[in-house]
């Protein structure tokens, strides 16, 4: 409970920890201000509750000795804001602006209401005859950096893999590129995160992160069909 990041889905990509770090940083910073404001709030409510024979003070809010109690916290908040912005922008750049060189590429296609995926197959190239097409199942190799190309067929959808900390809306008529590098073997949820009609609530898929051996075996078995 105290550390909110425990509630997040188990991280399974290289930048997941960086995003969780921003989350934790903000949590502690705003948590500090939140607690402090509440302490002041409830203290004042208790201290200055109406008591017989006690008259309220007359202050206007321009007295310098009083104003500093508002001003100093306020300056401190500006500093916190700058730290938060810097941390957020740094991670944003890493995840969304930067596109590091890839080990492999996949195509992700969203449509009402299914996900389909194109894997590169044995030649590790998309658009060749050995491409492996799947529906509602994405296969990846652990510790390999993947570029994904995201497309939509009809309406907006959003490609969200909570364990990877990635989310990107899919727009019909556009190819959107992004990347991730899974670093934990396992099976995780893919969810559509943008309302896309009556099937939005069932538009899930699974991503399976394989060991290199498993992945090779999967490619081999899938190519035979």
């Amino acid at each position: 409970m105290l550390h909110l990041t425990q509630w997040l889905v188990v991280p399974a990509s290289t930048f997941a920890d960086d995003i969780d770090f921003v989350f934790g940083l903000i949590f502690w910073m705003v948590g500090f201000w939140y607690v402090l404001s509440n302490v002041a709030f409830f203290y004042l409510l208790f201290k200055y509750r109406a008591q017989p024979g006690k008259k309220a003070l007359y202050v206007t809010g321009t007295e310098h000795d009083l104003l500093k109690w508002v001003e100093w916290p306020h300056y401190a908040i500006i500093v916190c804001d700058i730290v938060i912005i810097a941390a957020a922008v740094k991670v944003w750049y890493e995840v969304k602006q930067d596109l590091p060189p890839a080990d492999a590429e996949v195509t992700v296609v969203a449509q009402q209401w299914a996900w389909s995926f194109v894997h590169p197959g044995a030649d590790n190239k998309i658009g060749t005859s050995d491409d492996i097409k799947t529906v509602d199942e994405l296969h990846l190799e652990v510790d390999k950096l993947v570029h994904w190309r995201l497309q939509a067929r009809d309406v907006l959808h959003s490609f969200s893999v909570p364990a990877f900390r990635i989310k990107q809306d899919a727009i019909p008529g556009r190819d959107i590129m992004g990347w991730f590098e899974p670093n934990r073997v396992g099976t995780y949820d893919i969810q559509c995160a943008e309302i896309c009609g009556i099937g939005h609530g069932i538009m899930g898929a699974r991503v399976i992160v394989h060991t290199p051996e498993e992945y090779a075996a999967w490619v081999a078995s899938s190519s035979q069909h």
């Binding site: 109406a50 007359y58 206007t60 912005i85 995840v95 009809d154 909570p162 943008e194 009609g197 939005h200």
Partner: protein, 573 residues
């Protein structure tokens, strides 16, 4: 600024010539031009719509807690119905509850009374704005019953889903909903003009800009924000309507249109809209806290300027709703900066409110409890907003229940707590009687505690990955766990308890209108001008020519030194 002409002086036309004349039933309740009755019309309409939107929340929350059950008073919630319920809940709460009650009802009631005017400067325009609003409310309700059902493409109504019947499957519902929204906007444009012009031109003699109560300022700023932001969206709504009905392709990517354009139009309005409803509510608190703390507001000017700064900044943050929507990722950096910076004026404002309590003599009457709980809850809404404004963290949090919980910690204090604060505070002026204090206290604690129990669990389900607008989380392996389901059940049970507590309010409200203890003119010993008019004014016009107030000082002169009593009304020399 020289003293403006008195509103009273230039009211030559018939409705105003004869003060306190007896009005017929239809003049009073059906087609009033009197601002007090128009205020009550807006308030009542808004409250009825709130019952509908609250019921929708009940129906879809029951489905989430107990998927597939036959919900009492509703039945089984199908996926189509789930989407409609969520969409209608959200749009009604914002456009047909928060807007009419906070801006229109309180704006209409308070602005003339607080600035010492007999009415709005354009009373007939005022009547027209309510009638248009009522038309929009009727339209949106009609939209639930047409073939195909009510629109279910979310209150944000993103195309292409909203633009084509073959995607949304609500051929008539989509267009009726959109038309209703457009008519509602037009109604509030008329209302906004009236508020601003009235506050500028009809102030009592002697009332300078800095003698105007904060709530009047804030409602006017809110109206200006609304008028400045809604234009592009009205145009956008008509373009979307054309896409739906005439087969145009403004937002259709297949034919070269751009669906992201709609998102910009929507959020360029939608974000300022948040402040459009926030400012009146937080302004109401600025009126209540000094009265019950017997304290001058701490830093009147600073509060006013933080309100203006927030309003201006709110025009530069809209794309924080679109970080992952496919905009140029470099733009996200700009909008992260502006968004996080908006915490500066807002935090300052909250600090000033808290500082107002310092040295006070605080009485925890029902209106004060509401105003204080506004601060408490809004603070949670504010701090959780930072997580979402920080682009890096928003990649994970966007469109999860963390967002839903965050914005309900802003909207609920605004629309529900702010309304209860205002209604309980001005009830003696609205109806000439007191509300029952004991019932009010029970209703307050029951509502606020259960509200927190609804939405705190939803922060956690959001962190665990629950996305919005999903009708059954058991369809997803990571989300269908018993732990998460218990949190969802907790939120739903708390909602049912909260709704039950509202029966107390309805009873107290209606009973007190007819049987409450009679209230004197100034029951809270407050300083502002509305408390100088007779309670429950009989007819059109607020003061007689003899009692028309002049203003000698600012609005919050409590516990001033050198006086026997602890308040110095604005109109007392």
């Amino acid at each position: 600024m020289s003293h403006p002409e008195h509103a009273h002086a230039d009211h030559g036309h018939a409705a105003h010539g004869d003060h306190h004349h007896e009005m017929s039933f239809s003049e009073k309740y059906l087609f009033p031009t009197d601002h007090k009755y128009i205020a009550k019309q807006y308030m009542l309409t808004g409250m009825i719509m709130a019952v509908a939107a609250g019921f929708f929340a009940y129906a879809f929350r029951m489905q989430l807690a107990f998927p597939g059950m036959s919900v009492p008073f509703f039945g089984v919630v199908s996926p189509t119905e789930y989407n409609s319920l969520v969409t209608q809940h959200g749009s009604i709460m914002v456009f047909w509850v928060a807007m009419p009650v906070l801006i229109a009802a309180f704006g209409n009631f308070l602005i003339p009374l607080m600035i010492g005017a007999d009415d709005m400067v354009f009373p007939r325009l005022n009547r027209l704005s309510y009638q248009l609003f009522l038309l929009s409310a009727i339209l949106v309700v009609v939209g639930w019953f047409v073939p195909g059902g009510g629109f279910g493409g979310a209150w944000t109504s993103y195309p292409p889903l909203s633009a084509k019947a073959e995607y949304s499957l609500t051929p008539a519902g989509s267009s009726i909903w959109l038309a209703a929204v457009a008519v509602e906007f037009a109604a509030f444009l008329l209302g906004g003009i009236n508020f601003v012009v009235t506050a500028m031109n009809a102030r009592a003699p002697g009332m300078k800009w800095h003698d105007v109560p904060i709530v009047v300022w804030f409602i006017c700023i809110a109206s200006i924000l609304f008028m400045a932001s809604v234009g592009p969206l009205i145009a956008g709504a008509i373009m979307l309507l054309f896409d739906q009905q005439l087969g145009t392709h403004f937002f259709d990517p297949v034919a070269g249109g751009d669906p992201i354009l709609w998102q910009h139009l929507f959020w360029f309005f939608g974000h300022p809209e948040v402040y459009v409803v926030l400012l009146p509510a937080i302004g109401i608190c600025a009126e209540i806290i000094p009265v019950f703390a017997r304290k001058k507001l701490f830093g009147y000017r600073a509060i006013l300027y933080t309100g203006i700064a927030t309003g201006v900044l709110s025009f530069f943050v809209w794309a924080h709703h679109q970080f992952v929507a496919g905009i140029d990722p470099r733009m996200a950096n700009v909008f992260t900066i502006t968004t996080v910076l908006i915490s500066i004026p807002i935090a300052e404002m909250v600090f000033l409110y808290i500082a107002t309590l310092y040295g006070g003599s605080i009485k925890f009457s029902v209106p004060m409890l509401w105003a204080l709980s506004f601060i408490f809850c809004f603070l949670i809404g504010g701090v959780t907003g930072i997580f979402l404004g920080a682009s890096g963290a928003d990649i994970y949090l966007h469109d999860t229940y963390f967002v839903v919980a965050h914005f309900h910690y802003t909207f609920y204090p605004i629309a529900i707590i702010g309304t209860f604060a205002g209604v309980t505070h001005w009830f003696p002026k609205l109806f000439g009687r007191y509300m029952d204090e004991k019932l009010g206290q029970i209703h307050f604690w029951g509502t606020v505690l259960s509200f927190n129990l609804i939405f705190i669990p939803l922060f956690f389900t959001g962190l665990a990955g629950d996305h919005r607008r999903i009708y059954n989380y058991n369809n997803f392996a990571e989300l269908g766990t018993p732990d998460l389901q218990w949190l969802r059940i907790l939120a739903t049970v708390a909602l049912v308890i909260m709704l039950i507590f509202q029966v107390l309010f309805v009873y107290n409200f209606i009973n007190s209108i007819f049987k409450g203890k009679l209230a004197p003119t100034n029951p809270w010993k407050a300083t502002t001008l509305e408390w100088t008019t007779p309670s429950a004014q009989p007819g059109h016009g607020n003061w007689t020519p003899e009692t028309m107030p002049s203003v000698y000082r600012g609005p919050y002169e409590y516990s001033a030194p050198g006086r026997d009593d602890d308040f110095h009304p604005q109109n007392v020399p």
